[in-house]
Amino acid sequence: MGKDNAMQLQMDKEKVTGGIRARRVVANIVLVLICLLCLIWFYLLFINASRSRADLSMGSFRVLPGNYFFKNFYNLMHNSSLTIWRGMLNSIIISGGTAVLCTYFSTLSAYAIHAYDFKLKGVLFTFILLIMTIPTQVSALGFIKLMRVVHLTDTFVPLILPSIAAPVTFFYMKQYMDSTLPIQIVEAARIDGSGEFRTFNTIVLPMMKPAIAVQAIFTFVGSWNNYFTPALILKSEENKTLPILIAKLRSADFLKFDMGQVYMMILLSIFPVIVVYLALSKFIVGGVALGSVKG
């Protein structure tokens, strides 16, 4: 009850300061409009994925969904020139593998810098910070050449393994450790006779869970959406990931004949991410600010 009174007081005060309610209304209207601007594309996508090929070919605009959603889904599943399930599986393997390796080894590397004192620590740390902003694109040429030399083109290895060295994730983990991982815990474990590697796996990793969760999601999504490198590395049909299949939709003209299937394919490519995001949005939005601002 006291809380309500306090709110009442607060509101009275606002009336006095004036305009705040008006500002709140304006802010809410603008925000709703902006949210609509963000969401309308997904609504249009859904509508069009539920329309028949013939209806879509008329080029008309519809506000309400049609009844071809499942037919389009069925057709897409049975379209022999688009290996959608396989693509999805490939995407999951690559993104999942990337997320696991990236978070584990980034945490390990961050822990090395955080928990130990060694001669080259400063140099190595600065080095990792320096390479953080080098885009992967500028070394892509040498990367494909090297992968050809070691016969790794058209495999998942060049898309998963490199994530062991992820400076951005490393940096996030380091920041997180600075604020949450007291070195005394590590020392206590040492006194208990725990080996260093064991300490990391059984004590440090569990404490880092929130940070690992956030970074796992970011890494997974980043890898799921990645188009540039996989397009250069993967060649055979059965290895292609979803973004490459989407690009194929765009370039192989004949595939565009059934627009219902095209929309369905786009929907299936982004739907999993939307579901995961909505389920975990609390961590993600918080994580963005946490990771980037401290730098």
Binding site: S52, D55, S57, S80, R86, L89, K235, E237, D253, K256
Partner: protein, 467 residues
């Protein structure tokens, strides 16, 4: 006109070769060809097929899709395979199996973005096992050379055996006068016109009448004017006619390492600009033209047999009745002959199974029984003049989409006139980029010079070293 004359001469030469072949057959069929002049269809020095021997244990075949792989399992005698089920639950022909005692492995790489060519390049560079490989016309010249593919003569295939093939299918895989590959199919194309509009504007939908009205490009443009006056587009896109012109060039894209624009392409540019300006056609993506297939908006498109089923909106299950479903299209040759598509089989120069390769090429591209099955069961247009003539007169081969018209007669007449002797290995880039750049010129977005400069720059980026 000159071109047509040349084609007629060429096909006459073919008939002569055929007759000569028949006579010789009785004498010695395994001797090298004795005709002095090089005509399309020369297998080179023919070795005795009995001397061929297999040494390897695996037959490796490079392909870019399922089409021919599926034919192989169905029609090649002596194969042994089990069907596989893919992720979507569909039964499919496998990538591996056996042919007699040989293990058969298909290496499949899709052709998008040149990935298939890349796989061939790598295999050739690394010396990987490559017994058979398929090529398309756009880049066939890159691989039909000595040291990459084997001349057909070295497989024991004689000119007589090849004489029934259409000349253009042989030109595509001929280098320095020698044949390096063979195809089971032809992809002759024609002008597919809207019958209702033909009746209204030209007074008749009879293929001969329509053909007479569009027998050359001047007349074609004249008709385009009439169509415009009647409220119709002549073609859905400016690029609709491109392939007809590019099939009829008389000079290659590259001469002395310099880019060369053929008169025929120039003619296409000029005509298309006039037609776009007069609103007789539109610019834009060639494929996005469903309007023309569902409503009476457009007089004609150009395409081969596969175009009917694939592209013209023949789908009885949906709620729109397309013109194709009403059988509302007609077919005639159009102003010039052209073709679209096609797959050729080549034998790798380093094959270790030359006997089997020879067998496969003979069976799958020359055996009349297999060709018949490919026509009747797989809707292919077969690469045999004899069979094509039979099907052209067979009333059972009328096409529903064409209102019962039999397309074989027109297609086989058409492919008999095609001359593709000036292809280069990079035609694909040139053809793509000139259309892209010129579309912006037709649109008025770029001046002709700017559009041409853009074309030059894009091509040089893809084909370094050009002047």
């Amino acid at each position: 006109m000159k071109k047509k004359l040349l084609s007629v001469l060429l096909s006459t030469a073919m008939v002569a070769a055929l007759l000569a072949g028949c006579n010789k057959k009785a004498e010695e069929s395994t001797q090298p060809s004795e005709t002095g002049s090089i005509v399309p269809g020369d297998a080179g020095n023919v070795v005795d097929v009995e001397t061929l021997e297999d040494t390897g244990d695996t037959l490796t075949i490079y392909v870019w899709n399922d089409e021919w792989k599926d034919f192989f399992w169905q029609y090649m005698p002596g194969v042994d395979y089990t069907k596989v089920t893919d992720e979507d639950g569909n039964e499919k022909f496998p990538l591996e199996g056996k042919l007699g005692d040989l293990k058969v492995v298909f290496k499949q790489t899709p052709s998008t973005d040149g990935a298939y060519q890349k796989s061939l390049d790598d295999a050739i560079k690394n010396g990987d096992d490559m017994d058979l490989f398929l090529v398309e016309a756009d880049y066939a010249k890159k691989y039909t050379i000595d040291g990459v593919a084997l001349p057909l003569g070295e497989l024991g295939i004689t000119n007589e055996e090849l004489a029934d093939q259409f000349a253009y299918t042989q030109q595509v895989v001929t280098s320095d006068g020698v044949l390096y590959g063979s195809s089971w199919q032809t992809c002759g194309a024609g002008m597919i016109y809207n019958r209702e509009i033909a009746k209204e504007v030209l007074g008749s939908d009879d293929p001969d009448t329509v053909q007479a009205a569009v027998s050359d490009w001047d007349k074609f443009e004249e008709v385009a004017g009439k169509m415009k006056d009647a409220g119709y587009l002549m073609t859905p896109r400016a690029s609709t006619t491109y392939r007809v012109f590019s099939n009829n060039v008389s000079t290659p894209w590259v001469v002395d390492n310099k880019i060369n624009l053929d008169e025929s392409i120039k003619k296409w540019i000029d005509m298309s600009k006039r037609m776009v300006d007069a609103k007789q056609t539109k610019t834009g993506d060639l494929w996005n033209t469903e309007d023309a297939f569902n409503k009476n908006t457009t007089f004609c498109v150009f395409g081969p047999a596969w175009y009917f089923n694939f592209c013209m909106g023949y789908d009885e299950s949906d709620d729109v009745e397309s013109i194709a479903e009403k059988g509302g299209w007609g077919l005639c040759q159009g102003p010039q002959a052209h073709y679209w598509g096609g797959t050729w089989i080549c034998v790798g120069a380093n094959t270790d199974n030359i006997k089997t390769c020879s067998d496969v090429v003979k069976t799958m591209t020359l055996d009349k029984d297999v060709l018949k099955k490919l026509v009747e069961e797989q809707s292919q247009d077969c690469n045999s003049k004899e069979l094509a003539a039979q099907y052209a007169n067979d009333p059972n081969f009328g096409n529903k989409i064409l209102g019962g018209q039999n397309p074989y007669a027109i297609f086989s007449k058409c492919i008999d006139q095609i001359d593709v002797s000036v292809m280069t290995e990079n035609d694909q880039y040139f053809n793509e980029q000139i259309q892209l750049a010129m579309d912006e010129y037709f649109d008025g977005k770029l001046s002709y010079d700017d559009a041409y400069a853009q074309f030059e720059q894009k091509v040089k980026e893809k084909v370094p070293g050009l002047q």
